[in-house]
């Protein structure tokens, strides 16, 4: 079997096992669905009046505005939850056996990434359905919808590589906060509740340079049928992917050294 074939078989095996575990154990998939769904309900339901504030300009409505955030958040936290599973695999010894058995260990990381992407797509589909049921308007075309999904999955890849890098270095579930907190802080130092122009104080300055801001603006642009900062988002994602992939590769080497 060629190198690519070996990598693919390892990746598919790891992803398949992860998906089987996730969808046969509600304790694993429910938090990743309920968490974004809850934020969607709480923000879109409780804060919708903020769209009437002077200067708030977003034609698709506040529920759609929040859906743009929830897509990115669900994708990012899907990656973090996958990182928790990687850490659990190391803590309970499964990952070590996996590394002994796998002819190409890079395939293990790719498998985890595929698992996270499938998880993120499922969560986004559930939240999207909930949004449509609650009357959210999606004003983009089918191409915009596909672009939104691609953007979210790219975020999921970056978040999974980041979290897996930590999980493979620390190899304990206690590493959870180290995976979660930086992503949580990055997400909330961006235009979560209102467009960038309406954010006040120092958070506005931070949000201007936060790559998540571009991702949120693109996400909301696709929903409104008015693609925004797509090239900037793509550039941010490429840079973040390179950094996160290097980080995950270092984590894999660390795990290999640890035996």
């Amino acid at each position: 079997m060629s190198r690519i074939g070996r990598t693919r078989s390892v990746a598919l095996a790891v992803a398949g096992r992860g998906l089987h575990n996730t969808f046969t154990n509600p304790a694993l998939w429910m938090p990743s669905v309920l968490f974004p769904l809850f934020f969607f309900i709480a923000f879109a339901g409780g804060l919708s009046n903020v769209q009437n504030a002077p200067g708030f300009e977003y034609g698709a409505g506040y529920t759609a505005f929040q859906f743009g955030f929830i897509c990115i958040q669900a994708a990012a936290f899907g990656g973090v939850f996958t990182g928790f599973s990687v850490a659990a695999d190391f803590e309970f010894g499964f990952a070590r056996r996996l590394m002994l058995a796998a002819p190409n260990r890079g395939g293990i990381v790719i498998g985890y990434v595929l698992w996270a992407m499938a998880r993120a797509a499922f969560v986004i589909a559930v939240v999207f359905a909930a949004g449509l049921i609650s009357g959210m308007s999606f004003e983009g075309s089918f191409a915009d919808l596909v672009a939104l999904l691609v953007l979210s999955l790219a975020v999921s890849i970056v978040a999974t590589l980041w979290s897996a890098g930590i999980a493979m270095r620390l190899r304990t579930m206690q590493a959870g906060p180290a995976m979660q907190m930086p992503i949580f802080i990055l997400m909330f130092l961006a235009p979560v509740y209102v467009p960038l122009a309406l954010i006040a104080g120092w958070v506005h300055e931070v949000a201007r340079f936060n790559p998540v801001t571009a991702l949120l603006e693109s996400s909301r642009g696709f929903i409104a049928g008015d693609p925004t900062k797509v090239a900037l988002s793509a550039a941010c994602l490429v840079v973040l992917f390179v950094l996160a992939a290097s980080w995950a590769r270092g984590g894999l080497r660390s795990a290999e050294r640890a035996g």
Binding site: F38, A42, G45, G46, V50, P191, V192, V194, W202
Partner: protein, 266 residues
């Protein structure tokens, strides 16, 4: 003579003091338990203050500063973290057999409960003082003045005790730290589906406003908030104190019963 023997001779207060001291020392020795509950709500306060500042331009918004409006939220979040930590400490004592060993001593059940709540009370007091100091330092004004600030602290600690009693009840009933952690999202659901982030009368969605109206957390937050943005609003304060006190009585009674059941099993 051992500390426990001294406590047995010294009566219930000494017993409470010993256990509360242990609980406080434990909180001090686990900085993550003290730092995270304090820092995380302050980070969210900063983010929400900047992110929702535009809401203050809406007609009918009760204050021109979202910082003033949101200052009550960290007190609630601090109370939630204190409840979580207190409950987990007790669950760990149950899991590692410490509670069983205590049951063999002459210590009274009431002292055991009160002592266990000492750590949560300590965390609650420290975090409430810090939230108030940080809030004032970054520009929040307390409409009820210095006296109002003191009442704010008392109310915040009362609310903290109410949540801690709930955490204690869950720990005693389930006897597992995981079960206590499992209840944590419920606390956050209660907070987010309340009037913590938006005034109830300005919430557009009817279903959300209805949930917030029936959610007791809304009244706790509104009591705290009234001292910051309104001044002395006796109605809001009375509702807030009454709900917190009722929760303390209810969950202490339930905890006491759960403790008796657990000790009988032992």
């Amino acid at each position: 003579m051992s500390a426990a023997a001294l406590a047995a001779r010294g009566g219930v207060l000494s017993q409470v003091g010993l256990l509360a001291g242990r609980s406080v020392v434990h909180a001090m020795r686990a900085p993550a338990q003290l730092v995270f509950p304090i820092v995380f709500p302050l980070v969210l306060l900063a983010v929400n203050t900047s992110g929702l500042d535009a809401a203050t331009k809406l007609p009918g918004f009760p204050t021109a500063s979202y910082l003033d409006f949101a200052l009550a939220v960290p007190f609630m979040q601090g109370a939630l973290f204190a409840a979580l930590n207190g409950g987990q400490d007790l669950a760990r004592d149950i899991e590692n057999g410490f509670l069983d060993r205590l049951a063999l001593t002459p210590m009274s059940g009431g002292a055991l409960l009160a002592g266990q709540l000492g750590g949560a009370l300590f965390t609650g007091v420290v975090s409430a003082i810090l939230y108030l100091l940080v809030g004032v330092a970054i520009g929040a004004g307390i409409a009820a003045g210095v006296g109002g600030a003191l009442v704010l602290l008392v109310l915040a600690v009362t609310i903290c005790m109410a949540f801690a009693c709930f955490g204690t009840f869950v720990a005693l009933r389930a006897g597992s730290g995981e079960a206590v952690q499992g209840f944590f999202p419920l606390f956050f659901v209660l907070l987010f589906l309340s009037s913590a982030f938006f005034p109830r009368d300005l919430i557009e969605q009817d279903w959300f406003r209805t949930i917030a109206t029936y959610n007791p957390v809304s009244y706790m937050v509104e009591g705290l908030r009234s001292l910051v943005i309104t001044g002395w609003d006796t109605g809001a304060l009375a509702a807030s104190f009454a709900i917190a006190a009722a929760a303390i009585v209810l969950f202490l009674a339930l905890s006491s019963r759960a403790l008796r059941t657990r000790l009988v099993r032992t």
